[in-house]
Structure formats: structure tokens, C-alpha cells
């Protein structure tokens, strides 16, 4: 069996930074990702990021991905794509993945064959960075082809350069719904409307202003009642809702659309963590069931660390920081410390605090604090 110091699951912002920090400290590090390309959701984020200079604010996600690939390659991180981890045997921290024959790549060309083979890796430490998954929304016709996650539409247009539809309805006016609406317009789509069930826009006002001046109506206190069409979406019916979430009768209107994007939040993709028997707890502010972790990002299973959206749905900028934190701590637990680790950790914690402040983000800081509090009591002591 192949042996490594550090096996990272997920090659998004958290997984890559975790691997980079681990490898920089001398850990033999491998990253496994089930997608054809590494980079997680960064490779479809074509907008400029918010945040500070330390978080490369003002830089587009795709450029941040490129620089991470560069950093990972020079740190000696090995990334395997089309490698899906389906088991973690906790006694020896054995990672079992289904991979393709040629899926061993070092951040270069994508794999080309489809012959599968199983692979077992014995890892001294595991960092799970499996990200988040989009929430679904149940309404009449919600399973029709043409109803899709907003993130799916974003993947289609920005990564694969295919516009999934021409006339689009966005359900949800959080940052994801607003940003992806903007990007659908940039890709040549027509946004018929953005609807939001609550009485106010959840995302940043600047994102709303952007699509508003592009002529897209943002209808708050509106919900979707149905999607219909012959084997595919051809129209949607939306209506107003009152303060108790009841449909205001007579307010229904039919929209001619061929695509309905659902942007009603994400949840931590905790299936693998759950399979590894990491204890979870429910945190609405962090998106749902999230693995309990301590301030070093270690879970209730000794040797298994987490980072990024898996440890609470936030933003790429926080994922980049948490990944580094997890990587440094996992390496340190193997005795692979570096002078300055303490200062690095303090600096990361300071930046995370900054990212989790303000009226939009403070609730996440509170939730994270609570989660870490539970973690300090329940996770193994170093």
C-alpha cells in the first residue's frame, strides 16, 4: 500500500492550501479530487473577490486557482484528479479511492482514460476539504430538466463554456444567486428575474446593484410555485408571499423561461466525514450538519482534520485561510514544525476574524466559536 504523511481530499481552495502548507513542512502529501480538473469551485469564479490584500482581494477566483496550482507544484504536492475517495478506514487512516489509470497528475493535463482501478493509501494524517453542496428546493416541477443548481449553471458557462438556457429565472438573491445571475448575463443569457422569498436581498447590495442596472428585476417576497413544460422547463409560475410565507392569492404570474437556477444556500458536504465517523453537529449559520472540530481544525477522530466549506459554508477567502491552518496543524502533529508556525497561526486567526466580522459575517464568527468550543471539549487533545 502506498504510504504518505498527508492525504488531502478535495483540491479546492482549502484542500490545496492545506496540502501546500503540509508539503512545505516536509510532509509527503497527496491530494485526491473526483473532478476532471483541480481547483474546486475557484476555477469557475470569474469575478473579483472581496476581502483584503492578504486574501488577494480584487483578484478573480480563476487567477487565484492558477497561483495555487503554481504554489502547490513548487511545494511538491501531488494532485490526483478523477480520484473519488469512497472509504476511510479509521484504524490505519487508510484512504480508498476509485481512480482512473492515468489520473496521477501533477497539476498538468487532465486524465484521458476511463479505466477505473481502486487505490489504497495509508496516510498518517487526513485533511478533508470536500466543500459544500447546493441545497435543492421542492416545488411542482422541480425535477424537470432545466431546473438546476445555480452553481451547476456557473460550472457550465465559466468552466465548460456552454450556456444551459437562454431565458433564465434565478431563485434566491443571496450572493450566489446575484453573482451567478451577473455571470449568466456575461455569458449571453437573459435573466428574466431574480426572485427572493424573504423581504430583503440577502447578498451584498453592490452585487444586486450590478444586475439591477443591467435591467434584471429583483423581486423580493416572491417564491416559485411551479415549473412546467413538455419534458423540460418551458415556463415558471411565481407569486408574492406575505410575512407568514403564505402565497398572496391573485399575485401569480407566469414567466416564459427555459432554465430555473436554484440558489437557496449550500450545506457542508459531510458525507465522507460522516463515513469516517467524525461527529457532526447542526449549525444553521454554517449551513447544516458540520463535523465538530477544534481550533487546530482536527475532528473528533484523531488524525482527521477538516477545512473550508466542509467545516461551515463560508467563502473561498475563508477556505484559503482554514486550509493553511489545517495544513500547518496537521504537519505540526507529525513533528514537522517550522519556526514561525505560531506567528503564522496567529496571523491566520486574525485574518479569519476580520473575514467573519461586520453585519453580514459576524453570525458565522459566533457559530464558529461555538463549534470550536464543542470541539475543544470533544476532540482529542494534542
Amino acid at each position: 500500500m502506498r504510504e504518505v504523511d498527508l492525504a488531502v481530499v478535495g483540491a479546492g481552495p482549502a484542500g490545496l492550501t492545506a496540502a501546500i502548507e503540509g508539503a512545505k513542512r516536509g510532509c509527503r502529501t497527496v491530494v485526491l479530487d473526483m473532478n476532471p480538473r483541480p481547483g474546486g469551485q475557484l476555477i469557475k469564479q470569474i469575478h473579483r473577490f472581496f476581502g483584503s490584500r492578504e486574501h488577494r482581494a480584487g483578484t478573480r477566483g480563476i487567477e487565484i486557482a492558477d497561483s495555487l496550482f503554481h504554489e502547490a507544484a513548487s511545494a511538491g504536492v501531488e494532485v490526483m484528479v478523477e480520484a473519488e475517495v469512497y472509504a476511510i478506514h479509521d484504524s490505519t487512516l487508510e484512504v480508498v479511492a476509485q481512480t482512473n489509470e492515468d489520473s496521477l497528475v501533477l497539476l498538468s493535463e487532465e486524465a484521458t482514460t476511463s479505466r477505473s482501478r481502486p487505490l489504497s493509501i495509508a496516510a498518517r494524517r487526513i485533511i478533508l476539504a470536500t466543500g459544500g453542496a447546493e441545497n435543492a428546493l421542492n416545488f411542482a416541477g422541480w425535477t424537470l430538466p432545466g431546473v438546476m443548481g445555480a452553481g451547476a449553471a456557473q460550472t457550465m458557462i465559466n468552466l465548460w463554456r456552454v450556456l444551459p438556457g437562454k431565458k433564465i429565472l434565478m431563485v434566491g438573491a443571496g450572493n450566489v444567486g446575484l453573482i451567478i445571475s451577473y455571470q449568466l448575463i456575461q455569458a449571453g443569457g437573459e435573466m428574466v428575474a431574480v426572485i427572493e422569498a424573504t423581504s430583503r436581498i440577502g447578498g451584498y447590495g453592490v452585487h444586486a446593484a450590478k444586475i439591477s442596472r443591467a435591467g434584471v428585476p429583483i423581486l423580493t417576497s416572491h417564491t416559485i410555485i411551479s415549473a412546467s413544460g413538455e419534458s423540460r422547463v418551458e415556463r415558471a409560475v411565481i407569486a408574492k408571499v406575505d410575512a407568514s410565507w403564505r402565497i398572496v392569492s391573485g399575485s401569480e404570474q407566469e414567466l416564459e423561461v427555459d432554465t430555473i437556477c436554484i440558489a437557496v444556500g449550500l450545506h457542508p458536504n459531510a458525507r465522507l466525514a460522516s463515513l469516517a465517523e467524525c461527529e457532526l453537529c447542526y449549525s444553521p449559520s454554517l449551513g447544516g450538519w458540520v463535523p465538530i472540530h477544534n481550533s487546530r481544525m482536527e475532528t473528533t477522530i484523531s488524525g482527521i482534520y477538516i477545512a473550508g466549506d466542509l467545516s461551515g459554508v463560508e467563502e473561498a477567502s475563508t477556505a484559503l485561510e482554514e486550509g493553511r491552518l489545517a495544513g500547518i496543524c496537521a504537519a505540526a502533529s507529525l513533528g514537522k514544525e517550522r519556526a514561525g508556525d505560531y506567528d503564522d497561526i496567529k496571523a491566520i486567526e486574525g485574518r479569519l476574524l476580520g473575514l467573519r466580522s461586520g453585519p453580514f459575517c459576524q453570525h458565522r464568527q459566533d457559530a464558529k466559536q461555538e463549534l470550536i468550543g464543542i470541539g475543544e471539549a470533544q476532540c482529542p487533545k494534542q
Partner: protein, 103 residues
């Protein structure tokens, strides 16, 4: 529909084209893209029909998590087309139910 020109990403780079067969019809795909992208570009939205109610399904999550987009690829059912890249000459079929002949 392919997004050929893009204000941020620039023009669609020239990539090697591969031929794939979807329900017996030849489709031109771009090397390295997933099957789901290739068939969406060809205007195909229905990937499969469900077992009990025979309802159509398409792409939902686009990143390999929901399994709504599975099809029969080279005779193998339940292949997630959103994360499975096209390769020259593969056959892709709309899946009915569990995709093994029976329901």
C-alpha cells in the same frame, strides 16, 4: 449553445474535437469536457427517465454530487455525466430506470 466570446474569459480557445455517439447520433465534443457539457451544447437536456414514474431528469448539481445526470456510457449505466470527460468514440445512451434492461 457554446459561449464563444466572453468579456472575462476571452474567446473560446481552440481545442481538439472528439466525436461521441449519443443515442445513435454523432455529436462533436471538446476534448476534456464532461459528457454533460457536450450534450448540453448539442441542445440535449434529458439524461434519463426515472424508474417508477418514468419522469425525465437532467443536470442538477453539475459537480458529481447529486447523480441526477447519470446515463449509460459505453454500456455502463449510472455514469455521472457531469464529471466524466468525453473520449473519442464513446457511446452515450439515455438511461431508463436502473439502466440494465429491466426496471
Amino acid at each position: 449553445m457554446r459561449v464563444v466570446h466572453h468579456p472575462i474569459l476571452g474567446d473560446l480557445p481552440k481545442v481538439r474535437q472528439v466525436k461521441i455517439w449519443v443515442d445513435g447520433k454523432e455529436i462533436t465534443a471538446h476534448k476534456g469536457e464532461p459528457i454533460a457539457a457536450a450534450i448540453a451544447a448539442a441542445g440535449i437536456k434529458i439524461h434519463r427517465y426515472t424508474t417508477k414514474r418514468e419522469e425525465p431528469r437532467g443536470v442538477f448539481c453539475g459537480i458529481g454530487q447529486c447523480t441526477d445526470c447519470v446515463m449509460i456510457v459505453n454500456g455502463v449505466p449510472n455514469v455521472r455525466t457531469c464529471i466524466t470527460p468525453v473520449t473519442e468514440g464513446i457511446t452515450v445512451e439515455t438511461q431508463h430506470g436502473a439502466g440494465r434492461g429491466g426496471r
